[in-house]
Amino acid sequence: MSGTIDANVIIIGSGVAGAMTACKLAQLGVRDIVIVEAGPRIDRAETVKKFRASPFIDSSSGYPNPDYAPRPDWNDAKNPYIEKTGPAFLNEEYLRVVGGTTWHWGGCTPRFRPVDFRLASAYGVGADWPVDYDTLEPFYTEAEEEIGIAGEEDDGSPRSKPYPMARIPSSYCDKVIAEGLKPMGITFNARPSARASRPYNGRGQCQGFGTCSPICPSGAQYAAIYHVEKAEKLGVRVVDTTRAERIHADGKITSVEARKPDGSLVTLRGKIYVVAANGIETPRLLLMSAGERRPRGIANTSGLVGRYFMEHPALTCRLKMPRPVYSSRGPESIVTSSDFRDGPFRRERPSSMLSIEHPPRFHETADGLLRQGLEPPKIDADVKDALTRMAEMNIGIEQLPDRQNGITLNWDKRDRAGQPLTRLYYSFGSYEQAGFAFARDMFKKIAASLQAQIVSLGDPVPQFHLMGMTRMGNDPKTSVADSFGRSHDHKNLFILSSSLFPSASSVNPTLTLAALCLRAGHEISRQLKVGN
């Protein structure tokens, strides 16, 4: 099938950003919206089956990874989808399917705090946002209702309305740890999460499968497929298995070229274009659209597309508790401590977020004991002892924007779809190193307070939060887009991705992204009414 699709609004990507924006636009009365999505449609029950049939225990192996819409795959180390350069470890992960990456996210959805939007002004590091907390607050509230979030108190982010659902109750393990850390003065709050604590918008109550990532078998956890289906009911057309390859511009954006699995081309033309293809594929697509007139790519007069990549690198500590705490009972993460999120220390070291995590660790545990030469009946007793006494905690930190961290394209090497490979440079500065040192020290104190033994305390790992590479700002020289995500270069192009974030905070990004999308929806609708 080749051909042309004409619409009012063309949205690239059906993840939470694309799908929620489409719904918002349709609700605001915008007609003729098309979402073009690289990946295929998938079914929840089938995906659960695929995970059970997969020999791997990562969070992607049950999802498709077709040649026409390839993605990172940890299990194929020989053919990296993203070329890593730079000294710091990074194994990124995202999905390319209808509904995007929230199929396998952790569903943790805190708000930023007001000060997170003015890091540079408050602490002299990082960057300020072109939008403040108060402006975004109503959209946070709306996003929480759209996604369906269970939470409790405001945790330093003032709220105009309570959470739509009561919090998810703490697990036994959470309670034991919270009690054990009281002498240290550490306090825990309910972690806002996109898991239903009561029936909500067609989703049932969380059943505690404990496999929030890779997939919630019951569908109690939000995934953007909810908004894809809602958008379709509102008349939005979702064109799947169609990968955008190139954006054309003539001052304004004029068309998008996309490719079907059979190799045929589809041309998409609209009045407004939204790129919502995630924090890496979005800048990649803009860079891939370079041509004679725009050698740096689309929306890239500033030269900043693909720069200032940020993650929330985290240290994970596994503890052996003095008695069983039954960690893997319940959702993957229910409480966090915000005690280290903010303070004058942010001039020298990052904001950090401490969380208790409950991922099931059967395979790693049994594998480790077998490799030590254990056999039945001892191994059975030891597996039980290790798993029931295991506790896992995470400290994720705020990474500063650093211009050298980011992507370029390697035109000499191609991915399975024939596109230039993404080359990603990643490093940590002294600010992040100070955060890791703080985290290591904190875990030692925590272990002592809990009378627990540290089983492992590894190097920083990514949390798959892809921020910064199309940063927003007021000055076109130092940013790619304005506070609505509108490209400074092309007024009919909106970039809606966590790649807009000029700074990272230490908390999960997706709720803030959703709030930005809802706000941008109003602006897109307004712009369509007045004409581009």
Partner: protein
């Protein structure tokens, strides 16, 4: 238990079940999983020989009064050679993890909820993707009578 001739080129499902049962110290292995694993193991050219050798040594050992409860690999009474020892470990790992690691071919899943790594925490920790606790069922410690 009778000794099977090691020269045989193939091995029966029954012998595979027996050797699995001896290595894992379990009499109640899931029948479907046994059949699936049998097929995967028999795909290996060396499998029948190793299965028979390990089977025969354990059977002989038991006939000589060794206890079924003994640790298999550490108990030199079975007199495993290096290859037999490796095979017994490989079989044990496959049963525990439900994953068959192969040197040349892709790694394969052969069992999910019947993998033995779940045995000792059954009823205490839910099997991922299969079992759930019901809303709030995680707030208290489980009854852990074992």
């Amino acid at each position: 238990m009778s000794v099977v001739l090691a020269e045989e080129k193939t091995v029966s499902l029954d012998v595979f079940r027996k050797v699995s049962s001896l290595v894992t110290l379990r009499d109640n292995l899931d029948a479907d999983t046994v059949s699936r694993m049998y097929k995967v193991f028999l795909d290996e050219p060396w499998a029948p020989d190793h299965i028979l050798r390990v089977h025969n040594k354990i059977v002989a050992g038991l006939a000589n009064g060794l206890s079924r409860k003994n640790h298999l690999m550490k108990d030199l009474a079975w007199k495993f050679d290096e290859g037999e020892s490796w095979f017994a470990g490989h079989l044990l790992m496959t049963w525990y993890l439900g994953v068959y690691y192969h040197a040349e071919r892709p790694t394969q899943r052969v069992a999910y909820e019947t993998a033995l790594m779940f045995d000792s925490t059954r009823g205490i920790l839910p099997i991922p993707l299969v079992e759930s606790l019901g809303f709030g069922g995680w707030t208290d410690a489980p009854e852990d009578a074992r």
